[in-house]
């Protein structure tokens, strides 16, 4: 298969391969990642055709574009030799077409004179067409230079012809700074769009966000053609009567207004106020009675019906992690008071704090029940950066983990977990029961801090992990630097473990 150069962005590194692979799945194209380094924005993939390569990148958020690879090498001599050897069959095609050359130096700079000289050195290419910068029919050639940090000269070079650009411009278009209505926990537009890519949002599909807030994720999915709806336990965020996080903003600001801002209201199916643990959505598949220990198939006239679920569940830090219910068991009198008064206009249903891990399990179980086969769940999850504690990724036997991407912060990080709903024949009823019986031990208690370990440690400034680390390593300084240097250290091992288990893939 021919090779192509992808010009990636040098940020959110751990998301980049996952995005490429998802976009290939979405385009129905088989790609192989030939060369990829975490520390470089240049990636070589092989794909069946230039059109396929272009299709893969057309929706990408974490790249700028894709190029037909004309040559590469560790210095200019090697690059020129490689260009002459591997691309001469392309030369006649561009003999008379308009064209131009550009130079893209990563972590390096060139003076104007050097730049001109580098381009001049390619004059052996038999191009006689006019040099036109703005002509859309121009063939655009780019020389890429990859420098090590602080290096004088590049350590690797590529020459490519531009095939197509990415969708990175959407990052600016959907920028939160320009959005009509946002809240304190709105997801950054770039990451929301990326999440939509990983969940394979696409034309004609139906997507749901159970913690929609001001609708950032549904909007990103709708941009890619999906029909979306969402829900939230907080009525004010959806209805928009609570104002916006933007300073000085007043007046009616609601989720629907956001869809209108981007002209996406036709794909917005609506939203409702609900709690995931008491969802009004229809749950198909094996009967809920499994929960009571009995197993029997039900009249599942309907199978899974959602193509994708994307969400950023509340972490319980900036917004409460609550579900319907009361902290203490209600007395008979209290119950009857609620029953008598709930129709009053000012009635607010009581809510109680909920365990974070239990919430994650609930999301997974909901996704396993409602997704179509092959449908995806993309969910964000925060964790403290302690390398000494094994990373726990919530699992469900009807879901297969597709990718785990990390966005590190100072003392904590958040991960984007993407799962695929297995096909029915890949799952046995025993698996489904096992998930319910062998329920992971979730945090117990009535207070938010007892229920949510992440929240407690966040507000303690993650002191505990520092302390345990010091106790463990004593005065020795080496493990500390080792751990501090690579915030993803603990993660890489976990990732390998997961993917080793699925080696036949």
């Amino acid at each position: 298969m021919p090779q192509y150069l992808v010009r990636l962005v040098q940020m959110h590194e751990s998301f980049r391969k996952a995005e490429l692979q998802s976009l290939a799945d979405l385009a129905g194209v088989e790609i192989v990642i030939v060369k990829y380094e975490e520390d470089s924005p240049f990636c070589i993939i092989s794909a069946p055709s230039p059109k396929a390569a272009k299709d893969v990148i057309s929706r990408s958020i974490l790249s700028f574009g894709i190029y037909e690879l004309w040559g590469h090498g560790s210095d200019y001599l090697a690059l020129h030799t490689s260009v002459k050897e591997s691309s001469s069959h392309h030369w006649p095609i561009y003999k008379t077409t308009p064209f131009y050359f550009t130079l893209d130096s990563y972590r390096g700079t060139r003076t104007e004179a050097q730049r001109r000289q580098i381009i001049q050195d390619f004059s052996y290419l038999p191009f006689t067409g006019p040099i036109k910068l703005k002509d859309p029919s121009s063939a655009i050639f780019t020389i890429f230079e990859d420098y090590a940090l602080g290096a004088e000269a590049p350590h690797y070079l590529y020459l490519g012809r531009l095939l197509g650009s990415s969708s990175r411009h959407l990052k600016t278009m959907y920028d939160l700074k320009k959005r009509h209505y946002i809240s304190t926990t709105s997801m950054d537009a770039e990451l929301a769009l990326l999440t939509a890519n990983l969940a394979l949002a696409g034309p004609g599909k139906i997507f749901y966000d159970p913690f929609m807030g001001t609708g950032g994720f549904p909007i990103a999915c709708a941009e890619f053609g999906a029909y979306v709806f969402g829900s939230d336990i907080d009525a004010r965020t959806i209805r928009g009567t609570g104002g916006s996080a933007r300073k000085g903003q007043t007046g009616k600001m609601d989720v629907e207004g956001n869809f209108k801002q981007y002209g996406l209201q036709g794909r917005y199916l609506g939203s409702f106020i609900s709690d995931l643990t008491n969802t009004p959505l229809q749950i198909p598949g094996p009967d809920r009675n499994i929960r009571e220990g009995q197993v029997h198939e039900v009249n599942s006239a309907r199978g899974g019906w959602l193509d994708g679920i994307i969400c950023d569940p509340p972490y319980g830090v900036r917004e409460g992690l609550k579900v319907l219910g009361t902290r203490a068991q209600l007395s008979e009198l209290e119950r009857s008071t609620h029953a008598d008064r709930y129709k009053d206009s000012g009635y607010i249903p009581p809510k109680r704090p909920y365990s974070f891990t239990a919430m994650l399990d609930d999301i997974l179980a909901f996704a396993a029940d409602t997704l179509v086969e092959g449908g995806r769940l993309s969910m964000w999850m925060p964790t403290a950066n302690d390398e000494d504690i094994e990373l726990v990724i919530p699992l469900n036997r009807r879901l297969e983990i597709v990718s785990v991407c990390v966005q590190p912060f100072n003392k904590w990080s958040r991960r984007l977990l993407t799962y695929r709903r297995l096909r029915e024949e890949e799952v046995t009823l025993a698996d489904v029961v096992a998930d319910d019986v062998v329920k992971t031990e979730n945090e117990k208690g009535a207070r938010a801090d007892d229920l949510n370990d992440f929240r407690r440690r966040y507000f303690e400034g993650f002191k505990e992990s520092e302390r345990t680390r010091q106790e463990q390593f004593g005065s020795s300084s080496t493990p500390d630097t080792e751990n501090a240097g690579d915030p993803k250290g603990g993660w890489d091992g976990a990732l390998k473990d997961i993917f080793r288990k699925e080696s036949p893939k």
């Binding site: 004609g204 139906i206 709806f229 209201q265 199916l269 106020i273 969802t279």
Partner: protein
């Protein structure tokens, strides 16, 4: 909320989930509004096999809208071929076969994606609990005695 959403909604009370009469919810005193939207046949074809058709028909009747056919149309019935000259062609000689949304698709689109419930109530056929709809947003939060 668009009527399509109602085809996936049931009562939020856990004990109602297993009862067949909790689905679909029954609209009460609904105020409807038509919000025009662009038709997308691909989406209709994708969603059609996932619809509970009989329940959709019941809902449409309860709302007093024109009845749906008794059985769901096949996805293939959503498009029809039309012979038409491209707009750029003024001679009218280069007639092309175009795939356009059929009347069936346009009717379905009108019901599912253009008809919205703006206010009213949604009632569970099993427990009788009524969920309020205000400004097109339904509230499914349960009072404490029903959780």
């Amino acid at each position: 909320m668009k009527l399509l959403t109602l085809n996936f909604l049931t009562c939020a009370v856990k004990t109602c989930k297993t009862s067949a009469s909790s689905f679909p919810l029954h609209p009460r005193d609904s105020e409807l509004e038509i919000v025009e939207a662009e038709i997308n046949v691909q989406f209709l074809q994708n969603i059609l096999p996932r619809l509970m058709w009989e329940e959709l028909g019941g809902l449409v009747n309860e709302l007093g809208l024109p009845s749906l056919p008794p059985t769901a149309p096949l996805p293939s019935a959503l498009v029809e071929s039309k012979l038409q000259a491209p707009e750029s062609d003024t001679t009218g000689l280069n007639i092309e076969k175009l795939e356009v949304p059929s009347q069936v698709a346009r009717d379905l689109h009108r019901v599912l994606l253009e008809t919205c419930i703006m206010s009213g109530g949604l009632v569970c056929g099993n427990c009788g609990h009524e969920y309020k709809v205000l400004e097109g947003v339904a509230n499914f939060l349960l009072p404490a005695h029903l959780v």
